[in-house]
Symmetry: C2
Subunit: 330 residues, 2 copies
Amino acid sequence: MKKRATVIDVAALAEVGASTVSRYLRNVPVKPAVAKRIREAVETLGYELDETARALRVGRTRTIGVILPKISNVFFSQAMQLIEEEARQRGCTVIPLTHQDRMSQQQDNLAKLRRYRADGVIITCAPGTLATDVQVALPHIPIVAFDSYLSSEIDSVLLRNREAARIGTEHLLGHGYKNIACVTGRPDIYSFKERIAGYTEVMTSRQLRPNVITAPDYDQLRFLLGVALQGKNRPAALLSLSDFATLNVLTTFRELALKPADRVPIIGFDDFGFAPLVDPPLTVIRQPIETMVRYALNMLFSRIDGTASKETQAISLPGELICRRSCGCA
Amino acid sequence: MKKRATVIDVAALAEVGASTVSRYLRNVPVKPAVAKRIREAVETLGYELDETARALRVGRTRTIGVILPKISNVFFSQAMQLIEEEARQRGCTVIPLTHQDRMSQQQDNLAKLRRYRADGVIITCAPGTLATDVQVALPHIPIVAFDSYLSSEIDSVLLRNREAARIGTEHLLGHGYKNIACVTGRPDIYSFKERIAGYTEVMTSRQLRPNVITAPDYDQLRFLLGVALQGKNRPAALLSLSDFATLNVLTTFRELALKPADRVPIIGFDDFGFAPLVDPPLTVIRQPIETMVRYALNMLFSRIDGTASKETQAISLPGELICRRSCGCA
DNA sequence: CTGTTAGCGCGTTCAA
DNA sequence: TTGAACGCGCTAACAG
């Protein structure tokens, strides 16, 4: 079991100093003849940089933390995939950490990233998170809020949540539905709060009574949906604020064994592969995930590199209404 | 901008030696009075362990690498979520790396995990991977193959792929369908090869001609499916080997605007939230992901801790046929 | 352009 | 039980 080669081994074989090897490896100019000897030594010894040693010395790990509610979720798994790809291209690795909407777990995540000295952090906050919570938890570490907003001092990239909700609500109104309900789990999550606000604005501006169906957990949400759908003041259409909420709505339809005619038109947030294949094909508001991720990582890395301007940015991007049939469109 | 406290700072404040602090932090017995002083010093200084320094010294990073084809995929995103949770419970972090079924990218991933000194690796191999490829890439690092198999010398945990495919095929035969086709992308991936074998066994044992519809990429797969479905020798039923293949089959149905009567019964692999909600509700073979992940991590950590026996294990777990209606069941 | 030297923060000798 | 000293592998500072 021979040990891995170090810069010193390479230096010895190439008959140069260790720092010259280090320089060569970091593309600092080195005399061609020397470079060649080092290259060969690296080759024959199979030398590979030890990131742990480099991290200790330099204080940078080439690692970014990604804190999010859950990975197994269409929106976030797509985001994680894209983040991993972008990070790879920049020579970084990603440490994903989930908080499952629990503040305490989120704080544990932050502590972990401190211990591992992540160079930067992308975070989708747990409900109730204050800007100071994450700022004091991550002193001097670049942060980008993704699909959430912390304060004007922290970069963020989000969907134009209110606008998107307004568009969805108005589309439903355009079909002639008046009694539109808005359904979501966890109304305390930032993006959902905003979407609720957008929905409510439209409804009240038309003198319609907003009706937000929500519950602390999704079992209760399905229950409430059941009573709403079977009650006398049955909603005429639904605006669902996330893919997971939509899943629960459709599941409730199924559990209630509603006849197609009794099923309520619905628009959901988030697009995904199977959306066109459910019955009826789901009309959704698509988030521009690729763009969101690209912005988030550009901002994060420009902070890490110190090439960012002082001012923080709050990027907000439009959603796209993808009309299929569940909204009532032919 | 005050720097973070180190063991030395803590030692100074507690008026002990640095090594005593280190011992205290690792729960090595220390005199109670001393322990108290250290505890207080840690508290007032806000000391936190630096994992990068520890890693350099100890040679272990408390980090496991997870190499997989893609995160944005129902099966793997579920797996990643569970892996993250299990790893968290063991005080580890996860580095996810995707290879998108490309060998070269997989080799890059392996090199990265070497540089970051991952303590262990869970890998779902890219097609064409040889056992030696990963063994030489990861010298002396514990490896568990997940949803793939490398050799008898490497631990693995998989679905009983052949059995599962047999069950699915037999179920379709039980409905009276004879001309059953098997559809999958990437037939060179281990699990798919096995599933194809299981399907083929059943078909040939009944003197039926196996018909594997496959293509190097999913666009071509949809095209081939289209011609098959519209040809004269139209399959009577389909066995789809992955959630993604199923997505493509159903998409093809839709693209072809097949009338419900003309749609072909289908059984797919992998269960997911929207499966009961597509039209018709999807019959699937569910993989026991939770159990698979638990086994994988148990095996990996017992190797890392050195508590594992010498012999390697190849765990294979049964799939569960979840009958909904797409298979032809009432 | 190059080599020598000195730590980064920890855990582990070893001797007390 | 404790502390002093060393070194993990690397890069930054300095001198040549």
